[in-house]
Amino acid sequence: MIIIKKFKAPLLMAAVFILLWFWLPDIAARSTDVALDYLKEMVLVIPPVFVLMGLLEIWVPKEKITQLIGSGSGIKGIFFSFLMGTLPTGPLYIAFPLAGSLLAKGARISNIVIFLGAWAAIKIPQLVAEMEFLGLPFTILRFVLTLTAVIIIGQIMEKVIKPTDLTQITND
């Protein structure tokens, strides 16, 4: 019962898919294709990311994170957060648990926003594709503007959010 309740969202999705197969088999076929592709990617990428998160949690002391990207880390902290974000690692949603444990270990909110922003918008393989299809001026301009925006958003969020507003993923 508890398991059914925990997984009610995916179960609901499954029900929608079943209904769709009766109603609009065309769309259902296309949706199922996309979903299966996506699932394959997830099954490959997600387990290692959570193991890495566990290792980070166990091995890296809080002081180290605070020193690197915590309060008082200044420009160096911005740089490190950006660098961690640009590593080629996959879709943004797998960065959320990592960001959560970094925050719990004393990272500044502004740096976490930069980390997520870089992860989402400024990936190196992604930039190569962007240059190819949209040209160099477009890519450079978007890169500079996005980085600026992310830094500003981080500053604002740090002012507005209190530590109690954050949830902690590693303890229940």
Binding site: K8, I27, S31, M42, P88, G90, L92, A120, F138, I161
Partner: protein, 159 residues
């Protein structure tokens, strides 16, 4: 390619961890597994939502919605589509490129790409679980506004 890098990184880290302490490595796996279990329903639901959205709105439909007219309406549609959909970069850039050639404005394309990567409507429940409601709302809300400003600036500079 990305996957290979992730696994190489993982192998290095796990190897190092095992060398230093078997006990702590086990603990790390437990911590990871517990967090994964907590996120699993959200992750599975995302698979379904992404499938549905791209099933209903395949790239061809998106280009029809965004590409036909180059007005404010197209830009607004692009902003919303970018925020709600979750398209892998390898598909979204060629799509954006062909839209641009088909007559969409730089502003429209820029807003689409920027909301696509920075605003995640579908992934918001996961983000809330890991980082809290306030964090998620603020990050996505401000990123959406930032995307509109970025696109407007790019439109002025590049056209």
């Amino acid at each position: 390619m990305t996957t290979i890098i992730v696994y190489i990184l993982l192998a290095l880290c796990v190897g190092l961890s095992l060398l230093k302490s078997r006990e702590k490595t086990k603990k790390a796996f437990i911590v990871g597994a517990r967090a994964l279990w907590k996120m699993a329903p959200g992750l599975l639901a995302i698979v379904g939502v992404v499938g549905l959205i791209l099933g209903i709105l395949p790239p061809e439909t998106i280009s029809r919605l965004v590409g036909e007219e180059a007005g404010l309406m197209a830009t607004a549609t692009a902003a919303v589509l970018g925020a709600v959909t979750l398209i892998p970069a390898l598909i979204s850039f060629p799509l954006a490129g062909s839209l641009l050639r088909a007559g969409a404005t730089v502003t429209t394309i820029a807003v689409f790409i920027t909301t696509l990567v920075m605003v995640g409507f579908v992934t918001a429940p996961l983000e809330i679980k890991a980082l809290g409601k306030k964090f998620t709302l603020l990050r996505n809300g401000m990123s959406f506004i930032a995307a509109l400003i970025i696109a407007a600036v790019m439109g002025v500079i590049l056209t």
